[in-house]
Every structure is written in C-alpha cells, then in structure tokens.
Symmetry: C2
Subunit: 327 residues, 2 copies
C-alpha cells in the first residue's frame, strides 16, 4: 500500500521514548496533528526542541479528544497509565499502543475500562538504545506491524488504526490475536534477547574474558547486540510474556542438552545442524499468497477471519470503510 | 603497528575459500609473491581470473619453497591436507593455517610431522557466506588474529608469521596457547553459532512459523545471521572444539533452566538480566595496558611469557629479530 497523507488526522502520543518518540516524529513529519506527552520534563523539553507540540499533563492530551491515542510508555508503566487514561479519555478517541506483549497490555486496558476503545498495535522495529534522543522516524521505515484483535475490538477503531499504521506510519500490518502475536514475538524477539543476554553473561564470567572480548568479531557483536538493551526493558518484555518465552526456552534447553551430551560422548551431531530449513533463505516477502476481502460485518466474524489470515502470514493490502483486504 | 610492505616475501596459500581467498588476494594486493592452490578446478579458474597465480597441485606449491605456507582448507580436510604437505614440504618453509580451532589443527600438523615448522594462526573475521566468490580482502581489515604457540613453536617461524600477519595482512595479534584460543572462540564464536542455529530451528518447527518470520526484525536477523553459515562448516567447528563448546553450553543450559523455572513460577528474574556487566559497553581497545618486551631466548621461555600476556588481553605492538613487544 502506498503511504497516504495524515493531514486532518489528530493523534495523541503518550510516552516519548525510543518507539513513542519515533512514532510522534514520523506522524508530525507526515502532516498529522500530534499532541504528545511524557512523564519526564527533560524528555518533554527535548521533544519540544524537536518541533513537537508537547503538553505537561496526560489529561490535557485526552482533553483534546484526538482521533487516536497511542500509549507508548514502558510495559511496566502500562497499567497505571491506562488507568489514568481511563479516568480522562472522552469523545470518540480510539486507544492503541505500541507495547511488545499484547496480552499484558490488553489486561491493563481491560482493567482501565478502555476495552471498547482499544485496538492493539506493535511495530517490529527498535534498537538496543532507549529514550527520545535515540528515537528516529526512519526506524519505522517499512516496519512490519502487528494489529491485534479479540472479540471486543471496535470496528470503527480498527479501521482508524489500520489507516494510521498503513498510511502516515508507512507500516505493513499483520492482523493477529494477542496469543499468536505473543507466541511469535517470543520466538523472534524475546528469546533472542534472552540468548543475547546469556551470551554476554557467560563471557563476562569467563576466566578468558579479556582475550575473548579482544578476539570477538562479527558473530559475537551481532549475536549480543540486543543483549545491550536496557536490562529492565528486556526483563519487562520477558516477564510480561513469561508463558510463551518459557515454552520456547524449554525447547532451546532440551535441544542444547542433547547437543552437549552428543559432543561429550563423541556422538554424531549432524542432526542439530540439519534441521528443517525453510528459514535459512532470504526473508519471505510480505503476504501469504491468498487474497481475501473481509467485510466488516455486524456479527463480528471479521475479527476471526482477519486474525486467521494473519496467522497464515497474510498482510493488509487495502482498507475500505466496510472491508479489509489481506493477501 | 603500521602495515609494512610484503615485497620480497613468498607465500603459498592452500585452499581458496572465504578466508583463504581473502588472505591470498590481500597478500597479492600488498605486493607479496603468492602461489595458490585449491582442490576444486572451478575455484582455481575463478582465482586465476582474479589475478592470482594458481597451480593445479599442492606439491607444486611446496616445491616453490615459499617462506610461509598457509593452510586455509576446511577443518574437516585439515588432516589429509597436512599429511600431503608433510610429504612434499621442503627447505625452510614455515607452515601456518587459518583454522578456527587451534588444538585440532595442531593435532593434524603433529600427525603429519610438521610440528617443527608450524605456527598456528586464526583471523577473527568471516561472514556467513562461503567460497572464493565470497572472499574479499576488506574482510580482513583491522582483524584481530590469534597466533598460537606451544613448547615446540619454532622461533624463526614465529617471527616470520608475526611479520606476515601484522605487516601485509594488517592484523592485530594476540599470542595465545591453543587452549586459551579455543576456550575464547568457543565463547565468542562457536556458541553464538550454535545459538543462532538453534533459534532458526525453533522458529522453523513452530506452528506460528510464517507469521513469526513475517514479524521478524533486526533482533532476529542479527541473532540468526551466523546460523545461515554452511551447516557442515559450523558442525566441523563445533565438533573440533567439542570440549570447550560443551563446557560453555552447559553453563548456558543451567542459566536458561533457572530462568525458565523462575518464569513458570512467577519468581524474580532480575538476577538473570543484571549479571556482571563489563561487556555491555563499547568493545575494549586493543591491549592490556602493560607494555612488555620479551626476548626470544634460546630456552624458549618467550613462549609462555607471550602467551601469558596474550591471555591477559595484550597484543603485539612491535616485532624485532630477537624480541617481541606486547602491550
């Protein structure tokens, strides 16, 4: 989908860290009317200096009745911020977020009484750095986004968020359930963060640490890059997605134990290195091949239809008022 | 150390894959007289087309009595190639290699009767690609090299290899024992390769595979890059260094098991993410701070002195005829 203009759209962004800052700056650059807030005064000042309109109070963002309010605070703050939004939000504002664990955010939103306004979202983009100073609209260039739905997702809000993400934010969207999102990101993001952290820890504790670091080249640098992420951010991501992360790590532990036993007993290890291999090639192109037009029916079957296609790899290719096309 | 010219030096390179091809092309570009050989006719043709002098027989490389003969064949071929070199090498030729596991190569060299000519070497540089077509002299730009010694390492050969690596090859050298090298590379190269392979395997087997790959972004791409290395090359590296790799993986398995148990029981996991953290910062600058001039004495104490400094992170900063300075 080509990127459409954001002129006329009004968006509030709460939290101006790496992701929230990048979202706010990209939307502003695309002509969206953005009102932003961050709990930290220094961050508000930096965001103002970068040309954003920033207010000092979360209630003031809500009072503007933006079309969409984006919660971009850390996972560990999501519950309290959602509660505060619940007290102040009004009008037709749709609430979305950019959190990396969708089940946990939905729980927070539900507790805050925001469910009927809520559509989950998560851009698969980031770096090991944190804070507004690390934010960069280019970080979101061509990003894959998950937009998550459940049985309560509002139809109008869903269309608004899809248009925001595929339009001014320039994203490619998989519509997913929270569960499929959280299982998938456990595999391709949270477990990689854990393994990178573990690699750094093993080297830090090794007697040969200094020379090992001296010899470290590309394989170690790449394998540990996300291990340099703020430890609290990684911890929050992993604990908020504990069940899926633990389940994936159980498989890792089992496989590594088998490999260790084979190495220690001189047994063949070829099987470990020769596993089913559809993922060694280049990254798959967007979409699943099937093209499906889903009417946003009153009964709400569109939610399961779209999430089913999303789980098979389909992405959104067109958003109409009454239908969404995936392929 | 500034790069010194290789003019006047004669080097044979056996094996023209990713590393051997890069070494041969860099040496040729630096004015070294290079004679190369590869077992595959197509590779020989490609190397000739790239301007290298290539001979069709390993014996012909040996017959030229190069100052240094570099064994750059895959680990799994090292034993048979070393044996063949043992039958043909003559004159004062020094034998070195670029293999990623030094203990295993030394065993092969010892079996071939080449020990008195042998000085081990290993550039910490590479990519997930293979073959001469992937070779690139720039891959070795600024690379850290290990040069390995034991009680039999010849003094003259050692100086020759140090001059080759720090001169025309432009490397920075840690002098190490095989054991310290192999333990270090298990940590910063072989275990990262195993974990990258495992991550690809876990995702390949997952029910959400397609959407997970659709959502995969930088953290997964970086974490799995070296998992896309030729499976046989990774397997050879891991099995040839089985003891050190297994020992490091045991630690990984133990730590991940603890994490899984904590995640499954809602116990605190902060400790996992807060481990001693000297490695999260920028890569250390070369060297250990101490400056040490080691005379290449007849008694051979220089070997332990240099390997001891190397294990503490020191690198070679000057090579004289009768001494080596590390810092």
């Amino acid at each position: 989908m080509g990127r459409t203009s954001g002129v006329g759209l009004r968006v509030g962004v709460v939290g101006l860290g790496l992701v929230g800052g990048s979202v706010a700056r990209l939307l502003h650059a695309q002509g969206v009317d953005v009102t932003a807030h961050d709990a930290t005064a220094a961050t508000r000042a930096a965001a103002r200096a970068a040309g954003l309109r920033v207010v000092g109070d979360l209630a003031d963002v809500c009072a503007q009745e933006p079309d969409v309010l984006v919660l971009a605070v850390p996972l560990r703050a999501m519950r309290s911020v959602a509660a505060e939004v619940g007290r102040h939000v009004r009008g037709a504002t749709v609430v979305t977020d950019v959190g990396s664990v969708k089940g946990a955010v939905r729980d927070a939103v539900r507790s805050a009484g925001l469910e009927s306004r809520y559509v989950g979202a998560h851009p698969m983009a980031g770096t090991e750095h944190s804070g507004f100073e690390a934010s960069d609209p280019a970080m979101l260039d061509g990003a894959r986004w998950a937009v998550t739905v459940d049985g309560t997702t509002p139809r109008g809000g869903f269309v608004t968020v899809l248009r925001l993400v595929t339009g001014p934010l320039g994203g490619t969207v998989h519509v997913l359930t929270d569960e499929v999102h959280d299982e998938s990101t456990a595999l391709v993001s949270h477990v990689p963060h854990v393994l990178a952290t573990e690699l750094l820890g093993v080297v830090a504790d090794a007697p040969v640490r200094d020379v090992a670091l001296g010899l470290a080249a590309g394989s170690f640098r790449d394998a540990t890059r996300v291990g340099r992420t703020d430890a609290r951010r990684t911890e929050a991501m992993v604990t908020d997605n504990a069940a899926w992360v633990a389940s994936a790590l159980r498989v890792v532990v089992r496989d590594l134990e088998q490999l260790v036993r084979a190495l220690e007993s001189n047994a063949p290890v070829g099987e470990f290195f020769d596993r089913p291999d559809p993922v060694r090639g280049p990254a798959p192109v967007a979409g699943s091949g099937e093209r499906l037009r889903v009417d946003l029916d009153d009964a709400g079957d569109w939610r399961t239809a779209l999430a089913g296609a999303g789980a098979r790899g389909a992405v959104v290719v067109d958003v109409e008022d009454g239908a969404v096309v995936v392929a």
